[in-house]
């Protein structure tokens, strides 16, 4: 399952890039993130508590940054185990582009869920993933450019931010 989207952030590409690599900012913006600690240059351990309707599960796992191309793009990949609830893994390719003094951040994410969560919740996973991605990038935009509201950018037929 794939989730795409784009946001226009009122900050320079360098500022956005720095924030994308700052565990403190990521932690603040990841919905339900209780812990995000640096393990290596581009590796982190994370604990995330998600709540979707009646279901709540706590995932612990690893987050890594790959294919770094500063300050243009990277891939953020995560994999976590949620105990009896099952497991989740996913990644997002994030690209940045200058846009008249601001930056357009575009993401292409995919998510996989297994175990009990997938068994009973398969019909809810896309909606949940979409909401988590939206919540994250909205908060991220607002954190990087304080005082401005997150501005969603529409995607064209090819899936590119116009």
């Amino acid at each position: 399952m794939e989730i795409k989207g784009a946001y226009r952030i009122a900050a320079t590409r360098e500022q956005v890039w720095a924030a994308l690599n700052d565990p403190e900012i990521l932690k603040k913006c990841l919905p339900g993130c209780e812990k995000l600690e640096r393990e290596g240059d581009n590796a982190f351990t994370a604990t995330i508590k998600t709540k979707v309707g009646p279901v709540s599960a706590r995932f612990s796992g690893a987050v890594t940054l790959q294919d770094l191309d500063p300050p243009n793009a990277y891939r953020i990949v995560g994999e976590g185990k949620g105990g009896v609830a099952g497991f989740a893994k996913g990644g997002a390719r994030v690209t940045l582009r200058d846009d008249a003094g601001a930056t357009v951040l575009q993401y292409d994410a995919e998510a996989k869920v297994g175990g009990k969560l997938a068994q009973i919740g398969s019909r809810l996973i896309l909606g949940t993933a979409r909401k988590l991605a939206d919540d994250f990038f909205k908060k991220f935009s607002e954190t990087v450019a304080p005082g401005t509201a997150a501005e969603k950018v529409a995607l064209d037929a090819e899936g590119q931010a116009s």
Binding site: V52, S56, G83, V84, K116, L117, I120, I125, K131
Partner: protein
């Protein structure tokens, strides 16, 4: 199931009090979603606050203006109610199609709308009929009650007491159910009310939504062919192993057409 404390308060005020004081407490109405979730250990609660036994919350009252259904009234009771069948047959039909007999015998209208599952039937009924949700604190129009997937306008400690339905001129609900769970893959509620035509869709997106283009077309001419030309965009629609977003978008038009035909016919 993880261990939790079971409470059965006598008053709504006492129930609200537990919810306010205990962060991991949850209300239970019929328990048709909560119990399976707990059994699978997909949730860990400190307290389950059972509303069973609050007689004030059970019952159906019909007047000339509308039907009021208590929050703890089961789907089975709504489906079998002579008063509902007479005033709003579409609503009795909707309740009769929820889940299976066991679910209809335990599940309640208050529980269903407070949970706001994206594929639940009642949200379409409430939005389609322009109902009003009566809570312990205020009255909320259905259009402002359902905010998103599993999200409602309810605040912590606020409890649904009843739902007030105005009587429409004519209405019908048609759904394409998942053959196993009977959840709506897509369900469409169409109603011609005193305030105009309303079309509410459940199952297709993250939350119930209205289709203004269909409402406008039906306001001009209340006939099945009016909605045939209206297709809804696939943006934001659900996609899973049962149906793609395109298929769901297609089903919205098909179900709307059938609902209009049923509303005219009955």
């Amino acid at each position: 199931m993880y261990e939790f404390e079971y409470q059965k308060p006598k008053t709504l005020a006492a129930a609200a009090d537990v919810l306010k004081k205990k962060k991991d407490a949850k209300l239970m109405a019929g328990g048709m979603t909560l119990i399976p979730t707990l059994k699978l250990r997909l949730a860990k609660l400190s307290h389950v606050v059972d509303l069973a036994g609050m007689k004030d919350l059970v019952g159906i009252k019909a007047t000339k203006a509308g039907v009021t259904i208590g929050a703890m009234t089961t789907h089975g009771a709504v489906a079998a109610s002579a008063a509902v069948k007479k005033a709003i047959p579409a609503l009795a039909h909707l309740a009769d199609g929820i889940g299976d007999p066991a679910v209809r015998n335990r599940g309640t209208i208050g529980g269903s709308i407070s949970n706001n599952d994206p594929a639940a039937d009642y949200p379409a009924g409430l939005v389609g009929l322009g109902a009003t949700v009566v809570t312990t604190q205020r009255k909320i129009p259905a259009d402002k009650f359902f905010l998103g997937m599993f999200e409602t306008a309810l605040k912590r400690g606020e409890i649904v007491k009843a739902v007030e339905f105005p009587i429409p001129k004519r209405a019908a609900y048609m759904k394409f159910p998942n053959p196993a769970s009977r959840y709506a893959i897509v369900g469409v509620f169409v109603a011609e009310t005193a305030d105009g035509v309303r079309v509410a869709v459940t199952g297709a997106g993250g939350c119930v939504f209205r289709v203004p283009e269909m409402e406008a077309a039906l306001a001009k001419k209340f006939a099945p062919e009016s909605v045939v030309g209206v297709s809804i965009p696939t943006d934001g629609l659900n996609e899973d192993i049962h149906a793609s977003a395109e298929y769901r978008a297609h089903l919205v038009t098909v179900m709307a057409k059938r609902a209009v035909a049923a509303a005219i016919g009955g």
